[in-house]
Protein backbone atom coordinates (compact mmCIF):
# COMPACT_ATOMS: atom_id res chain seq x y z
CA UNK A 1 0.00 0.00 0.00
CA UNK A 2 2.64 2.47 0.97
CA UNK A 3 5.83 3.24 -0.87
CA UNK A 4 7.90 1.06 1.38
CA UNK A 5 6.13 -2.01 0.19
CA UNK A 6 5.75 -0.73 -3.35
CA UNK A 7 6.98 -2.52 -6.37
CA UNK A 8 10.42 -3.93 -5.97
CA UNK A 9 12.57 -1.27 -7.50
CA UNK A 10 14.44 -2.77 -10.40
CA UNK A 11 17.21 -0.25 -10.19
CA UNK A 12 20.48 -1.25 -8.77
CA UNK A 13 21.70 1.88 -7.22
CA UNK A 14 18.56 2.08 -5.26
CA UNK A 15 17.56 -1.45 -4.62
CA UNK A 16 15.90 -1.41 -1.25
CA UNK A 17 15.82 -4.43 0.87
CA UNK A 18 12.41 -5.96 0.60
CA UNK A 19 10.34 -5.99 3.74
CA UNK A 20 12.10 -8.20 6.19
CA UNK A 21 15.17 -8.50 4.02
CA UNK A 22 17.31 -9.79 6.82
CA UNK A 23 15.19 -12.85 7.10
CA UNK A 24 17.30 -15.96 6.97
CA UNK A 25 17.57 -17.18 3.43
CA UNK A 26 18.64 -20.56 2.26
CA UNK A 27 20.83 -21.36 -0.66
CA UNK A 28 20.43 -25.06 -0.33
CA UNK A 29 22.78 -27.41 1.37
CA UNK A 30 26.32 -26.56 2.40
CA UNK A 31 27.72 -28.10 -0.76
CA UNK A 32 25.43 -26.32 -3.15
CA UNK A 33 26.13 -23.13 -1.34
CA UNK A 34 29.87 -23.55 -1.68
CA UNK A 35 29.66 -24.27 -5.40
CA UNK A 36 27.40 -21.27 -5.84
CA UNK A 37 29.81 -19.01 -3.99
CA UNK A 38 32.69 -20.27 -6.10
CA UNK A 39 30.76 -19.52 -9.30
CA UNK A 40 29.91 -16.05 -8.00
CA UNK A 41 33.52 -15.28 -7.14
CA UNK A 42 34.67 -16.42 -10.56
CA UNK A 43 31.96 -14.31 -12.19
CA UNK A 44 33.11 -11.24 -10.29
CA UNK A 45 36.70 -11.93 -11.33
CA UNK A 46 35.62 -12.16 -14.92
CA UNK A 47 33.60 -8.94 -14.63
CA UNK A 48 36.55 -7.07 -13.21
CA UNK A 49 39.37 -8.55 -15.29
CA UNK A 50 39.21 -5.92 -18.04
CA UNK A 51 38.72 -3.21 -15.45
CA UNK A 52 41.85 -4.39 -13.67
CA UNK A 53 43.63 -4.38 -17.01
CA UNK A 54 42.53 -0.81 -17.68
CA UNK A 55 43.63 0.39 -14.26
CA UNK A 56 46.97 -1.43 -14.37
CA UNK A 57 47.76 0.00 -17.76
CA UNK A 58 47.32 3.52 -16.46
CA UNK A 59 50.71 2.86 -14.86
CA UNK A 60 52.32 1.58 -18.02
CA UNK A 61 54.93 3.45 -20.00
CA UNK A 62 54.23 2.15 -23.51
CA UNK A 63 57.03 1.84 -26.04
CA UNK A 64 54.99 2.79 -29.07
CA UNK A 65 51.71 4.51 -29.71
CA UNK A 66 49.64 1.65 -28.31
CA UNK A 67 49.33 1.20 -24.59
CA UNK A 68 48.43 -2.47 -24.80
CA UNK A 69 51.66 -4.34 -24.03
CA UNK A 70 53.22 -4.01 -20.62
CA UNK A 71 56.57 -2.22 -20.68
CA UNK A 72 57.46 -0.56 -17.40
CA UNK A 73 55.83 1.07 -14.41
CA UNK A 74 55.36 4.82 -14.38
CA UNK A 75 53.28 7.39 -12.59
CA UNK A 76 53.64 9.94 -15.37
CA UNK A 77 50.27 9.23 -16.91
CA UNK A 78 48.56 10.20 -13.71
CA UNK A 79 50.63 13.35 -13.47
CA UNK A 80 49.17 14.44 -16.78
CA UNK A 81 45.70 12.92 -17.08
CA UNK A 82 44.68 15.58 -19.59
CA UNK A 83 47.81 15.44 -21.68
CA UNK A 84 46.04 14.33 -24.82
CA UNK A 85 44.18 17.46 -25.82
CA UNK A 86 41.90 15.78 -28.36
CA UNK A 87 40.93 13.07 -25.95
CA UNK A 88 40.36 15.49 -23.10
CA UNK A 89 38.19 17.73 -25.22
CA UNK A 90 36.16 14.75 -26.35
CA UNK A 91 35.87 13.68 -22.73
CA UNK A 92 34.40 17.02 -21.66
CA UNK A 93 32.14 17.07 -24.68
CA UNK A 94 30.81 13.67 -23.65
CA UNK A 95 30.13 14.93 -20.17
CA UNK A 96 28.26 17.95 -21.52
CA UNK A 97 26.19 15.83 -23.89
CA UNK A 98 25.36 13.40 -21.11
CA UNK A 99 24.45 16.17 -18.67
CA UNK A 100 22.11 17.94 -21.08
CA UNK A 101 20.56 14.78 -22.49
CA UNK A 102 20.01 13.25 -19.07
CA UNK A 103 18.47 16.44 -17.67
CA UNK A 104 15.96 16.73 -20.51
CA UNK A 105 15.22 13.01 -20.63
CA UNK A 106 14.70 12.92 -16.88
CA UNK A 107 12.12 15.67 -17.01
CA UNK A 108 10.25 14.16 -19.96
CA UNK A 109 10.56 10.57 -18.83
CA UNK A 110 9.48 11.21 -15.26
CA UNK A 111 6.39 13.07 -16.43
CA UNK A 112 5.50 10.13 -18.64
CA UNK A 113 6.02 7.75 -15.74
CA UNK A 114 3.78 9.85 -13.50
CA UNK A 115 1.09 10.07 -16.14
CA UNK A 116 1.14 6.33 -16.80
CA UNK A 117 1.14 5.21 -13.22
CA UNK A 118 -1.37 7.60 -11.76
CA UNK A 119 -4.01 8.14 -14.41
CA UNK A 120 -6.19 5.83 -16.34
CA UNK A 121 -6.89 7.31 -19.72
CA UNK A 122 -7.63 6.29 -23.25
CA UNK A 123 -4.43 5.40 -25.03
CA UNK A 124 -2.80 4.18 -21.87
CA UNK A 125 -1.92 0.77 -23.28
CA UNK A 126 -0.82 2.11 -26.65
CA UNK A 127 1.49 4.56 -24.91
CA UNK A 128 3.09 1.81 -22.88
CA UNK A 129 3.78 -0.31 -25.92
CA UNK A 130 5.07 2.70 -27.83
CA UNK A 131 7.45 3.49 -24.99
CA UNK A 132 8.96 0.05 -25.11
CA UNK A 133 9.69 0.24 -28.83
CA UNK A 134 12.81 2.43 -28.63
CA UNK A 135 14.17 0.03 -26.03
CA UNK A 136 13.57 -2.97 -28.23
CA UNK A 137 14.90 -1.39 -31.39
CA UNK A 138 18.55 -2.17 -32.07
CA UNK A 139 20.74 0.86 -31.63
CA UNK A 140 21.95 0.63 -35.16
CA UNK A 141 18.39 1.07 -36.42
CA UNK A 142 17.83 4.05 -34.13
CA UNK A 143 21.05 5.62 -35.35
CA UNK A 144 20.47 4.82 -39.00
CA UNK A 145 16.92 6.14 -39.02
CA UNK A 146 17.91 9.39 -37.34
CA UNK A 147 20.75 9.71 -39.83
CA UNK A 148 18.21 9.45 -42.63
CA UNK A 149 15.93 12.00 -40.97
CA UNK A 150 18.64 14.58 -40.42
CA UNK A 151 20.16 14.02 -43.82
CA UNK A 152 16.80 14.29 -45.51
CA UNK A 153 16.00 17.57 -43.74
CA UNK A 154 19.44 19.00 -44.43
CA UNK A 155 20.17 19.23 -40.71
CA UNK A 156 23.87 19.63 -40.03
CA UNK A 157 24.99 16.79 -37.79
CA UNK A 158 26.81 17.78 -34.64
CA UNK A 159 26.45 18.28 -30.92
CA UNK A 160 22.78 19.19 -31.16
CA UNK A 161 21.81 16.12 -33.15
CA UNK A 162 23.81 13.89 -30.83
CA UNK A 163 21.97 15.35 -27.83
CA UNK A 164 18.63 14.95 -29.59
CA UNK A 165 19.42 11.31 -30.28
CA UNK A 166 20.56 10.63 -26.73
CA UNK A 167 17.42 12.21 -25.31
CA UNK A 168 15.38 10.01 -27.64
CA UNK A 169 16.77 6.74 -26.39
CA UNK A 170 16.94 7.91 -22.78
CA UNK A 171 13.32 9.10 -22.52
CA UNK A 172 11.94 5.59 -22.78
CA UNK A 173 14.55 4.28 -20.45
CA UNK A 174 13.86 6.90 -17.79
CA UNK A 175 10.10 6.51 -18.15
CA UNK A 176 10.26 2.75 -17.70
CA UNK A 177 12.67 2.95 -14.78
CA UNK A 178 10.77 5.65 -12.90
CA UNK A 179 7.49 3.96 -13.66
CA UNK A 180 8.73 0.73 -12.15
CA UNK A 181 9.65 2.67 -9.04
CA UNK A 182 6.33 4.48 -8.91
CA UNK A 183 4.30 1.33 -9.41
CA UNK A 184 2.27 0.74 -6.27
CA UNK A 185 2.78 4.33 -5.21
CA UNK A 186 -0.07 5.60 -3.04
CA UNK A 187 -1.23 8.75 -4.77
CA UNK A 188 -3.63 9.64 -1.93
CA UNK A 189 -0.70 11.28 -0.15
CA UNK A 190 -1.11 14.01 -2.76
CA UNK A 191 -4.76 14.32 -1.84
CA UNK A 192 -3.72 14.40 1.79
CA UNK A 193 -1.27 17.23 1.19
CA UNK A 194 -3.83 19.20 -0.76
CA UNK A 195 -6.39 18.52 1.91
CA UNK A 196 -3.97 19.99 4.43
CA UNK A 197 -3.94 23.23 2.50
CA UNK A 198 -1.03 22.74 0.13
CA UNK A 199 -1.45 24.26 -3.31
CA UNK A 200 -0.66 22.01 -6.29
CA UNK A 201 2.90 23.31 -6.68
CA UNK A 202 3.67 22.81 -3.02
CA UNK A 203 2.14 19.34 -3.21
CA UNK A 204 4.51 18.50 -6.03
CA UNK A 205 7.69 19.82 -4.42
CA UNK A 206 6.96 18.71 -0.88
CA UNK A 207 5.35 15.35 -1.48
CA UNK A 208 5.32 13.97 -5.00
CA UNK A 209 8.85 14.93 -5.97
CA UNK A 210 10.62 13.72 -2.81
CA UNK A 211 8.80 10.43 -3.11
CA UNK A 212 9.72 9.72 -6.70
CA UNK A 213 13.19 11.21 -6.27
CA UNK A 214 14.96 7.91 -5.53
CA UNK A 215 13.59 6.47 -8.75
CA UNK A 216 14.64 9.57 -10.66
CA UNK A 217 18.12 9.48 -9.18
CA UNK A 218 18.57 5.86 -10.07
CA UNK A 219 17.37 6.54 -13.59
CA UNK A 220 19.71 9.53 -13.76
CA UNK A 221 22.77 7.55 -12.78
CA UNK A 222 22.14 4.76 -15.24
CA UNK A 223 21.11 7.00 -18.10
CA UNK A 224 24.20 9.10 -17.54
CA UNK A 225 26.26 5.97 -17.98
CA UNK A 226 24.29 5.00 -21.08
CA UNK A 227 24.80 8.40 -22.66
CA UNK A 228 28.47 8.63 -21.76
CA UNK A 229 29.13 5.22 -23.20
CA UNK A 230 27.03 5.36 -26.32
CA UNK A 231 28.86 4.66 -29.52
CA UNK A 232 26.50 3.37 -32.17
CA UNK A 233 23.74 5.99 -32.15
CA UNK A 234 26.31 8.74 -31.62
CA UNK A 235 28.38 7.55 -34.57
CA UNK A 236 25.42 8.02 -36.89
CA UNK A 237 24.37 11.43 -35.62
CA UNK A 238 27.61 13.17 -34.84
CA UNK A 239 28.93 14.62 -38.09
CA UNK A 240 32.26 16.20 -37.16
CA UNK A 241 31.44 16.16 -33.48
CA UNK A 242 33.42 13.62 -31.49
CA UNK A 243 32.54 12.24 -28.08
CA UNK A 244 34.87 10.28 -25.84
CA UNK A 245 34.03 6.79 -27.15
CA UNK A 246 34.18 8.03 -30.72
CA UNK A 247 37.54 9.66 -30.13
CA UNK A 248 38.88 6.48 -28.56
CA UNK A 249 37.66 4.45 -31.51
CA UNK A 250 39.07 6.85 -34.07
CA UNK A 251 42.36 7.38 -32.31
CA UNK A 252 42.72 3.63 -31.98
CA UNK A 253 43.57 3.53 -35.66
CA UNK A 254 46.73 5.46 -34.95
CA UNK A 255 47.32 5.41 -31.22
CA UNK A 256 45.94 4.29 -27.88
CA UNK A 257 47.60 6.53 -25.30
CA UNK A 258 47.62 5.72 -21.57
CA UNK A 259 45.45 8.79 -20.99
CA UNK A 260 42.51 6.82 -22.37
CA UNK A 261 42.88 4.44 -19.46
CA UNK A 262 43.44 7.27 -17.02
CA UNK A 263 40.22 9.02 -18.04
CA UNK A 264 38.29 5.74 -18.02
CA UNK A 265 39.61 5.05 -14.54
CA UNK A 266 38.57 8.53 -13.43
CA UNK A 267 35.00 7.84 -14.52
CA UNK A 268 35.15 4.55 -12.67
CA UNK A 269 36.39 6.15 -9.47
CA UNK A 270 33.71 8.82 -9.55
CA UNK A 271 31.08 6.15 -10.10
CA UNK A 272 32.39 4.10 -7.22
CA UNK A 273 32.24 7.14 -4.96
CA UNK A 274 28.64 7.78 -5.99
CA UNK A 275 27.78 4.17 -5.30
CA UNK A 276 29.29 4.30 -1.86
CA UNK A 277 27.74 7.62 -0.94
CA UNK A 278 24.27 6.60 -2.12
CA UNK A 279 23.77 3.58 0.16
CA UNK A 280 25.58 5.30 3.02
CA UNK A 281 23.30 8.30 3.03
CA UNK A 282 20.36 5.96 2.80
CA UNK A 283 21.60 3.94 5.72
CA UNK A 284 22.07 7.11 7.74
CA UNK A 285 18.55 8.17 7.02
CA UNK A 286 17.33 4.77 8.07
CA UNK A 287 19.41 4.87 11.24
CA UNK A 288 18.14 8.31 12.17
CA UNK A 289 14.64 7.08 11.73
CA UNK A 290 15.18 3.86 13.61
Amino acid sequence: MTMAEGAAPPVVAEVRPAVGSDRPTRAGSGWGRRVLTAVAVLAYLWLFLPILNIVVFTFNDPAGKYNLSWERFTLENWAEPFKDAQLTEAFWRSLVVAAVAVAVALAMGSLIAIALSRYRFTGNKVTEVFLVLPLTTPEIVLGASLYQLFLGRGVVLGQVTVIIAHIMFLVSFVAMTVKARVRGFDWTVEDAAMDLGARPLRVFWKVTFPLILPGILAAALLSFALSLDDYIVTDFTRGEFTTFPIQVNNAFRVSFPPQVNVLATLILVVTLILFTIGPLSQRRRGAAAG
Binding site: V15, V39, I54, A115, L131, P134, E139, T177, A264
Partner: protein, 292 residues
Amino acid sequence: MAAATTDDTGLRRGRFAPYGLLSPGIIWLLVFFLVPVVMLVRASLSTKPSRFAEPVFSWDFSNYGSALSEYSDEFIRSFLYAGTATVLAILIGYPLAYWIATCGGRWKNFLIGLVVVPFFTSYLIRTIAWTSILQDDGVVTGLYRLLPWVGSDGRILATPMAVIGGLTYNFISFMILPIYVSLEKIDFRLTEAAADLGCTPWRAFRKVVLPLSLPGIFAGSLLVFIPAAGDYLNARYLGSPQTSMIGTVVQNKFLVQFDYPQAAALSLVLMVIITVLVLIYSKFLGTEGLAV
Protein backbone atom coordinates in the same frame (compact mmCIF):
# COMPACT_ATOMS: atom_id res chain seq x y z
CA MET B 1 -0.79 19.15 -11.47
CA ALA B 2 -4.44 18.69 -10.81
CA ALA B 3 -5.50 16.41 -8.07
CA ALA B 4 -5.75 12.88 -9.28
CA THR B 5 -8.36 10.68 -7.88
CA THR B 6 -7.85 7.09 -7.04
CA ASP B 7 -11.58 6.58 -6.89
CA ASP B 8 -12.72 3.61 -8.90
CA THR B 9 -15.63 5.49 -10.29
CA GLY B 10 -13.77 7.97 -12.44
CA LEU B 11 -11.08 10.53 -12.95
CA ARG B 12 -12.62 13.91 -13.38
CA ARG B 13 -9.65 16.12 -12.78
CA GLY B 14 -7.36 13.75 -14.59
CA ARG B 15 -9.06 14.08 -17.91
CA PHE B 16 -6.50 16.35 -19.57
CA ALA B 17 -3.61 16.19 -17.15
CA PRO B 18 -2.18 12.85 -18.31
CA TYR B 19 -1.92 14.06 -21.88
CA GLY B 20 -0.21 17.20 -20.69
CA LEU B 21 2.33 15.16 -18.77
CA LEU B 22 2.89 12.75 -21.63
CA SER B 23 3.13 15.17 -24.47
CA PRO B 24 6.72 16.50 -24.22
CA GLY B 25 8.29 13.06 -24.10
CA ILE B 26 5.88 11.38 -26.45
CA ILE B 27 6.13 14.14 -29.03
CA TRP B 28 9.90 13.84 -28.82
CA LEU B 29 9.66 10.12 -29.47
CA LEU B 30 7.21 10.64 -32.31
CA VAL B 31 9.49 13.14 -34.03
CA PHE B 32 12.82 11.49 -33.36
CA PHE B 33 11.85 7.85 -33.25
CA LEU B 34 8.68 7.13 -35.16
CA VAL B 35 9.14 9.62 -38.00
CA PRO B 36 12.73 8.49 -38.64
CA VAL B 37 11.67 4.87 -38.70
CA VAL B 38 8.96 5.73 -41.21
CA MET B 39 11.56 7.56 -43.28
CA LEU B 40 13.76 4.51 -43.02
CA VAL B 41 10.94 2.43 -44.45
CA ARG B 42 10.66 4.95 -47.26
CA ALA B 43 14.38 4.81 -47.90
CA SER B 44 14.29 1.03 -47.98
CA LEU B 45 11.81 1.22 -50.85
CA SER B 46 13.89 3.70 -52.83
CA THR B 47 16.46 3.32 -55.56
CA LYS B 48 19.62 5.28 -56.07
CA PRO B 49 20.24 6.16 -59.71
CA SER B 50 23.96 6.55 -59.04
CA ARG B 51 26.26 6.34 -56.09
CA PHE B 52 26.20 9.96 -55.01
CA ALA B 53 22.69 10.79 -56.11
CA GLU B 54 19.68 11.25 -53.85
CA PRO B 55 17.60 8.08 -53.42
CA VAL B 56 14.28 8.15 -55.27
CA PHE B 57 11.20 6.59 -53.71
CA SER B 58 9.92 3.88 -56.02
CA TRP B 59 8.25 1.03 -54.11
CA ASP B 60 11.37 -0.95 -54.83
CA PHE B 61 11.09 -4.12 -52.79
CA SER B 62 14.18 -5.62 -54.37
CA ASN B 63 16.30 -4.13 -51.60
CA TYR B 64 14.68 -6.56 -49.21
CA GLY B 65 15.26 -9.49 -51.51
CA SER B 66 18.93 -8.75 -51.94
CA ALA B 67 19.32 -7.87 -48.25
CA LEU B 68 18.08 -11.31 -47.29
CA SER B 69 19.84 -13.28 -49.99
CA GLU B 70 23.24 -11.58 -49.90
CA TYR B 71 23.51 -11.18 -46.17
CA SER B 72 21.76 -14.25 -44.85
CA ASP B 73 25.08 -15.41 -43.40
CA GLU B 74 25.46 -12.23 -41.39
CA PHE B 75 21.86 -12.41 -40.19
CA ILE B 76 22.21 -16.01 -39.11
CA ARG B 77 25.53 -15.25 -37.44
CA SER B 78 24.08 -12.23 -35.62
CA PHE B 79 21.19 -14.18 -34.19
CA LEU B 80 23.38 -17.19 -33.44
CA TYR B 81 25.97 -15.10 -31.62
CA ALA B 82 23.38 -13.02 -29.82
CA GLY B 83 21.48 -16.15 -28.85
CA THR B 84 24.60 -17.87 -27.55
CA ALA B 85 25.62 -14.76 -25.66
CA THR B 86 22.14 -14.63 -24.11
CA VAL B 87 22.34 -18.23 -22.96
CA LEU B 88 25.84 -17.67 -21.56
CA ALA B 89 24.64 -14.55 -19.80
CA ILE B 90 21.88 -16.59 -18.14
CA LEU B 91 24.32 -19.33 -17.16
CA ILE B 92 26.72 -16.84 -15.58
CA GLY B 93 24.25 -14.19 -14.47
CA TYR B 94 21.69 -16.40 -12.80
CA PRO B 95 24.00 -18.05 -10.27
CA LEU B 96 25.55 -14.68 -9.52
CA ALA B 97 22.18 -12.98 -9.00
CA TYR B 98 20.98 -15.96 -6.99
CA TRP B 99 24.06 -15.88 -4.81
CA ILE B 100 23.65 -12.17 -4.15
CA ALA B 101 19.95 -12.54 -3.38
CA THR B 102 20.39 -15.49 -1.02
CA CYS B 103 23.84 -15.10 0.48
CA GLY B 104 24.31 -11.36 0.15
CA GLY B 105 22.81 -10.50 3.51
CA ARG B 106 23.26 -6.86 4.27
CA TRP B 107 25.90 -6.53 1.53
CA LYS B 108 23.26 -7.16 -1.13
CA ASN B 109 23.08 -3.59 -2.35
CA PHE B 110 26.81 -3.28 -2.48
CA LEU B 111 27.24 -6.58 -4.31
CA ILE B 112 24.63 -5.82 -6.93
CA GLY B 113 26.15 -2.35 -7.32
CA LEU B 114 29.49 -3.99 -7.94
CA VAL B 115 27.99 -5.82 -10.90
CA VAL B 116 27.21 -2.53 -12.58
CA VAL B 117 30.40 -0.69 -11.76
CA PRO B 118 32.45 -2.19 -14.62
CA PHE B 119 29.87 -0.83 -17.01
CA PHE B 120 30.68 2.71 -16.08
CA THR B 121 34.01 2.47 -17.87
CA SER B 122 33.57 2.94 -21.55
CA TYR B 123 32.24 -0.05 -23.45
CA LEU B 124 34.87 0.50 -26.13
CA ILE B 125 37.77 0.69 -23.71
CA ARG B 126 36.59 -2.47 -21.99
CA THR B 127 36.52 -4.23 -25.33
CA ILE B 128 39.97 -2.96 -26.25
CA ALA B 129 41.17 -4.13 -22.83
CA TRP B 130 39.97 -7.60 -23.78
CA THR B 131 42.17 -7.50 -26.89
CA SER B 132 45.09 -6.78 -24.61
CA ILE B 133 44.16 -9.58 -22.19
CA LEU B 134 43.54 -12.13 -24.92
CA GLN B 135 46.50 -11.33 -27.16
CA ASP B 136 48.17 -14.33 -28.75
CA ASP B 137 51.33 -14.02 -26.66
CA GLY B 138 49.42 -13.34 -23.46
CA VAL B 139 48.88 -15.42 -20.33
CA VAL B 140 45.24 -16.21 -21.00
CA THR B 141 45.88 -17.54 -24.48
CA GLY B 142 48.90 -19.42 -23.09
CA LEU B 143 46.66 -21.19 -20.59
CA TYR B 144 44.07 -21.81 -23.26
CA ARG B 145 46.69 -23.56 -25.40
CA LEU B 146 47.29 -26.05 -22.60
CA LEU B 147 43.83 -27.47 -23.16
CA PRO B 148 44.16 -30.89 -24.77
CA TRP B 149 42.05 -30.12 -27.82
CA VAL B 150 43.74 -26.78 -28.51
CA GLY B 151 46.93 -26.78 -30.52
CA SER B 152 49.99 -24.71 -29.70
CA ASP B 153 48.90 -22.17 -32.30
CA GLY B 154 45.38 -21.89 -30.89
CA ARG B 155 44.08 -18.39 -30.35
CA ILE B 156 41.13 -16.66 -28.78
CA LEU B 157 41.11 -13.31 -30.55
CA ALA B 158 39.62 -13.13 -34.02
CA THR B 159 37.42 -16.14 -33.37
CA PRO B 160 33.66 -16.47 -32.82
CA MET B 161 34.50 -17.37 -29.23
CA ALA B 162 36.00 -13.95 -28.62
CA VAL B 163 33.08 -12.14 -30.24
CA ILE B 164 30.48 -14.10 -28.29
CA GLY B 165 32.52 -13.64 -25.13
CA GLY B 166 32.66 -9.90 -25.74
CA LEU B 167 28.92 -9.70 -26.34
CA THR B 168 28.23 -11.69 -23.19
CA TYR B 169 30.54 -9.54 -21.17
CA ASN B 170 29.28 -6.23 -22.46
CA PHE B 171 25.59 -6.90 -21.95
CA ILE B 172 25.51 -9.21 -18.95
CA SER B 173 24.49 -6.49 -16.51
CA PHE B 174 21.20 -6.26 -18.40
CA MET B 175 20.70 -9.91 -17.50
CA ILE B 176 21.79 -9.84 -13.88
CA LEU B 177 19.66 -6.85 -12.86
CA PRO B 178 16.21 -8.13 -13.86
CA ILE B 179 16.98 -11.61 -12.55
CA TYR B 180 18.11 -10.13 -9.27
CA VAL B 181 14.98 -8.00 -9.02
CA SER B 182 12.75 -11.01 -9.63
CA LEU B 183 14.69 -13.08 -7.10
CA GLU B 184 14.50 -10.29 -4.54
CA LYS B 185 10.71 -10.43 -4.66
CA ILE B 186 10.67 -14.12 -3.82
CA ASP B 187 9.97 -15.03 -0.27
CA PHE B 188 12.57 -17.70 0.34
CA ARG B 189 10.48 -19.18 3.11
CA LEU B 190 8.71 -20.82 0.18
CA THR B 191 11.73 -23.03 -0.35
CA GLU B 192 11.58 -23.91 3.32
CA ALA B 193 7.95 -24.80 2.87
CA ALA B 194 8.95 -26.93 -0.11
CA ALA B 195 11.71 -28.57 1.92
CA ASP B 196 9.18 -29.16 4.62
CA LEU B 197 7.08 -30.99 2.08
CA GLY B 198 9.98 -33.30 1.33
CA CYS B 199 11.67 -31.46 -1.56
CA THR B 200 15.39 -31.73 -2.05
CA PRO B 201 16.96 -28.27 -2.31
CA TRP B 202 17.52 -28.73 -6.03
CA ARG B 203 13.95 -29.80 -6.58
CA ALA B 204 12.72 -26.91 -4.43
CA PHE B 205 14.75 -24.57 -6.60
CA ARG B 206 13.39 -26.01 -9.81
CA LYS B 207 9.80 -26.15 -8.70
CA VAL B 208 9.56 -22.93 -6.70
CA VAL B 209 12.35 -20.41 -7.24
CA LEU B 210 13.03 -20.91 -10.92
CA PRO B 211 9.41 -20.49 -12.06
CA LEU B 212 9.05 -17.37 -9.92
CA SER B 213 12.19 -15.81 -11.40
CA LEU B 214 11.27 -16.61 -14.99
CA PRO B 215 10.01 -13.09 -15.73
CA GLY B 216 13.45 -11.77 -14.80
CA ILE B 217 15.13 -14.27 -17.07
CA PHE B 218 12.85 -13.37 -19.94
CA ALA B 219 13.34 -9.64 -19.51
CA GLY B 220 17.09 -10.10 -19.20
CA SER B 221 17.16 -12.28 -22.29
CA LEU B 222 15.54 -9.59 -24.39
CA LEU B 223 17.74 -6.88 -22.97
CA VAL B 224 20.84 -8.88 -23.85
CA PHE B 225 19.67 -10.32 -27.12
CA ILE B 226 18.48 -7.09 -28.74
CA PRO B 227 21.62 -4.98 -28.37
CA ALA B 228 23.83 -8.01 -29.03
CA ALA B 229 22.08 -8.79 -32.30
CA GLY B 230 22.62 -5.25 -33.58
CA ASP B 231 26.15 -4.80 -32.28
CA TYR B 232 29.20 -4.37 -34.49
CA LEU B 233 31.93 -3.18 -32.16
CA ASN B 234 32.64 -6.58 -30.63
CA ALA B 235 32.92 -8.10 -34.07
CA ARG B 236 35.20 -5.27 -35.16
CA TYR B 237 37.62 -5.47 -32.26
CA LEU B 238 37.48 -9.11 -31.27
CA GLY B 239 36.45 -10.81 -34.48
CA SER B 240 37.72 -11.65 -37.92
CA PRO B 241 36.23 -11.24 -41.40
CA GLN B 242 34.43 -14.51 -40.80
CA THR B 243 32.65 -13.29 -37.70
CA SER B 244 31.11 -10.12 -39.08
CA MET B 245 27.57 -9.44 -37.97
CA ILE B 246 24.65 -7.67 -39.58
CA GLY B 247 25.42 -4.48 -37.66
CA THR B 248 28.79 -4.29 -39.38
CA VAL B 249 27.12 -4.48 -42.76
CA VAL B 250 24.50 -1.84 -41.92
CA GLN B 251 27.11 0.54 -40.56
CA ASN B 252 29.32 0.07 -43.61
CA LYS B 253 26.45 0.44 -46.07
CA PHE B 254 25.30 3.66 -44.45
CA LEU B 255 28.51 5.41 -43.58
CA VAL B 256 31.01 4.04 -46.09
CA GLN B 257 29.17 2.87 -49.17
CA PHE B 258 26.27 5.35 -49.09
CA ASP B 259 23.93 2.56 -50.12
CA TYR B 260 21.02 3.96 -48.11
CA PRO B 261 18.22 1.88 -49.65
CA GLN B 262 19.84 -1.43 -48.94
CA ALA B 263 21.16 -0.33 -45.56
CA ALA B 264 17.64 0.75 -44.62
CA ALA B 265 16.20 -2.55 -45.78
CA LEU B 266 18.77 -4.46 -43.73
CA SER B 267 18.02 -2.38 -40.61
CA LEU B 268 14.32 -2.92 -41.00
CA VAL B 269 14.62 -6.65 -41.45
CA LEU B 270 16.66 -6.72 -38.24
CA MET B 271 14.07 -4.58 -36.50
CA VAL B 272 11.13 -6.65 -37.71
CA ILE B 273 12.67 -9.91 -36.56
CA ILE B 274 13.40 -8.45 -33.16
CA THR B 275 9.97 -6.81 -32.89
CA VAL B 276 8.32 -10.13 -33.58
CA LEU B 277 10.37 -11.66 -30.79
CA VAL B 278 9.41 -8.82 -28.47
CA LEU B 279 5.73 -9.14 -29.31
CA ILE B 280 5.83 -12.83 -28.56
CA TYR B 281 7.53 -12.01 -25.31
CA SER B 282 5.15 -9.25 -24.23
CA LYS B 283 2.15 -11.38 -25.12
CA PHE B 284 3.24 -13.85 -22.52
CA LEU B 285 4.85 -11.67 -19.90
CA GLY B 286 3.88 -8.03 -20.38
CA THR B 287 6.26 -5.14 -20.73
CA GLU B 288 6.82 -4.31 -17.09
CA GLY B 289 9.97 -6.33 -16.72
CA LEU B 290 11.76 -4.39 -19.42
CA ALA B 291 12.59 -1.50 -17.14
CA VAL B 292 16.04 -1.98 -15.80
